[in-house]
């Protein structure tokens, strides 16, 4: 009996890098600065290399989970793992810059990011419930700690507690769904579950639906879909900004990657039952997310509600048929990740002497003092609004085209009207930066080095993907092959 560990290699490499980073920081004299950034970047790059060099669809889906086959390397996992790794590589320099600005660069946040990424890699490549749950927990536990990593600040701790309580609560729901799904199908692999659900279920159909409902609630918390979103604004606002940047992008990528695989893979035979529910949640999420964002004064909180709304847009894609839905989800996740990472990243890199811009007044007139950074921020905001020639438009186009092709034009209508609403709060930031007089003194950091490069790369990616989306479409096509 051989066990093929190769599909788990990327996650193992990343986790090991995290351990190495911890050890290095423990044994080197610290002057308030961690040296592990380059180690972590190398680890992520190595994992990325391995991800692409693995033969696709190896592993053994039919085997029992004890003997392997719980994680696979198929087109979907490769695409999503690559996305998570790239987001991680972009987030690390932001994180270092931010933690140095608040004088808390102790290195442990790098290790925690590594552990979270390891969990995410497992999450998107799991084809079996036990490994899915464990990956989810590896990711979540690391993120709870990351959220609270600004130890001197009680708001960071409060955010961590709120994130932790709701996260653990949702994990319990998720696990309970897993348990019932196992009870119905007698196995934990997605293939087994799908084939059980496709056969006549008799009296068990109620149990299967109950299980799907629990899973949906669990995922709903992780992706911050309304009505399971209430933790997100608090956690995003209180967490260190660079952690928020990472959390609001990578977690969504991983959670949607797994959600797509579970609902369009394992639970697809029940699609008729859960699609209306998902559609309703999507509508609710888009409306509540955007309308709540209108009222926010805190920039991070506003962006938090905006990312709730964006989860709604992605859910819209899931009502269509598998290959198309998966392709649209992937395209949106790529577009959203680079954009949102950039937007939170701009806020993070401006931090200086433990302070950072929190409100519109803090960044008013920024265009005069930081023309490039402001231009980048404007690009991100325009992309979040979904204006053409940016990645955000391409994402929305694909997502809503998918909904319309599945005859859910109402979803597209609500989504696009809500995009028009969102223009209001995104534009307020542009107004503050470009149309209002600058503050008396320049309180924010000058952006240089790796963090500046990351922002530039994100802005460039947003524009390139917006103008020449052909390559992205081809990737998505390939990634979605798993769902045929």
């Amino acid at each position: 009996m051989t066990i093929d560990f190769r599909p788990a290699l990327p996650a193992l490499i990343v986790a090991l890098t995290g351990v190495v980073a911890l050890v290095i920081d423990a044994f080197t004299p610290r002057a308030g600065r961690s040296r592990t950034q380059s180690v972590c970047l190398t680890g992520l790059a190595a994992a990325l290399l391995v991800t692409f060099s693995l033969p696709v669809r190896i592993g053994c889906p039919a085997c029992s989970p004890l003997t392997g086959g719980s994680v696979v390397s198929d087109t979907w996992s490769v695409a999503l793992q690559a996305l998570v790794l790239v987001v991680g590589m972009l987030a690390l320099p932001l994180s270092t810059a931010y933690f140095r600005a608040i004088d808390q660069d102790r290195g442990e946040q790098n290790a925690l990011i590594m552990f979270a990424i390891a969990g995410m890699l497992g999450l998107v490549s799991s084809v079996e419930l036990i490994s899915l749950f464990i990956s989810l927990e590896i990711m979540s536990v690391a993120l709870y700690a990351l959220t609270g990593s600004r130890r001197a600040r009680s708001d960071s701790q409060e955010a961590a507690l709120k994130y932790f309580v709701t996260g653990a609560f949702s994990s319990a729901f998720f696990l309970y769904g897993v348990a019932w799904l196992y009870g119905v199908s007698g196995g934990t692999t997605f293939d087994r579950i799908a084939s059980t659900l496709a056969s006549p279920l008799g009296g068990n159909v109620g149990c299967a639906l109950l299980a799907s409902g629990f899973l949906l609630v669990g995922f709903g918390f992780k992706i911050a879909a309304v009505p399971f979103h209430s933790w997100a604004p608090d956690a995003y606002q209180g967490a260190p900004t660079s952690v928020t940047a990472f959390m609001s992008t990578a977690v969504k990528v991983a959670a949607f990657g797994a959600l797509t695989r579970v609902f369009h893979g394992a639970l697809f035979p029940l699609a008729d039952r859960w699609i209306p529910l998902l559609a309703a949640l999507a509508v609710l999420t888009m409306i509540v997310g955007n309308v709540s964002a209108l009222a926010q004064r805190d920039l991070k909180r506003m962006l938090a509600y905006s990312s709730v709304a964006h989860a709604g847009y992605v859910m819209t894609a899931l009502v269509s048929q598998p290959p198309q839905a998966a392709a649209a989800v992937f395209i949106y996740l790529v577009a959203y990740s680079v954009t949102n990472l950039g937007a939170f990243g701009v806020l993070a890199v401006l931090a200086k002497d433990g302070k950072e811009p929190l409100t519109l007044a803090d960044i008013s007139g920024m265009a005069r003092r930081r023309p490039f950074l402001s231009a980048a921020m404007a690009v991100f905001l325009v992309s979040l609004t979904g204006v053409p020639l940016t990645a955000g438009f391409i994402g929305k186009l694909r997502v809503f085209a998918a909904a319309i092709s599945a005859d859910h034009a109402v979803l597209a209508l609500v989504g696009l009207l809500m995009s028009a609403v969102s223009a209001y709060y995104y534009l307020r930031v542009v107004v503050a930066m470009y149309m209002e007089p600058p503050q008396d003194e320049d309180r924010w950091a000058n952006v240089t080095g790796a963090a500046g490069l990351v922002i530039a790369l994100c802005a460039l990616a947003v524009l390139m993907l917006g103008v020449f989306p052909e390559r992205l479409f081809a990737w998505a096509q390939t990634a979605a092959q798993t769902f045929r």
């Binding site: 927990e137 536990v141 609270g148 708001d155 701790q157 309580v165 653990a168 309970y176 196992y182 196995g187």
Partner: protein, 102 residues
């Protein structure tokens, strides 16, 4: 495992889960909330073990072991956060944690 026993086990599991969930939503002390979450996880464990017996397979048992481990690590991080917050605010009442709002 007989059909009746499975039913009883599942009924108990559902009841535990419900008690846990209601407790998380209603109780105000953070420690109690954490204990309620543990209750929910153990309800899931009970269901897993019961299902595992009824399928005459080991997957569910294995999974329950994993869940115990995960719950322990989760509790470790959770309690660390609670202690940090308790030091800062000198209270364990969840309603007192209202610094973050829009």
């Amino acid at each position: 495992m007989s059909e009746t026993l499975l039913r009883h086990a599942l009924a108990l599991s559902l009841a535990l889960f419900a008690v846990g969930a209601v407790g998380v939503l209603l109780r105000r002390n953070v420690i109690t909330v954490l204990m309620c979450i543990e209750l929910m996880l153990n309800a899931a464990n009970l269901a897993l073990v019961a299902f595992s017996r009824s399928w005459a397979a080991v997957d569910g048992h294995v999974m329950a072991l994993f869940v115990l481990t995960v719950a322990a690590s989760e509790a470790a991080v959770g309690l660390a956060i609670v202690i940090a917050l308790q030091r800062a605010r000198d209270t364990l009442d969840v309603d007192a944690f209202d610094e973050l709002r829009g």
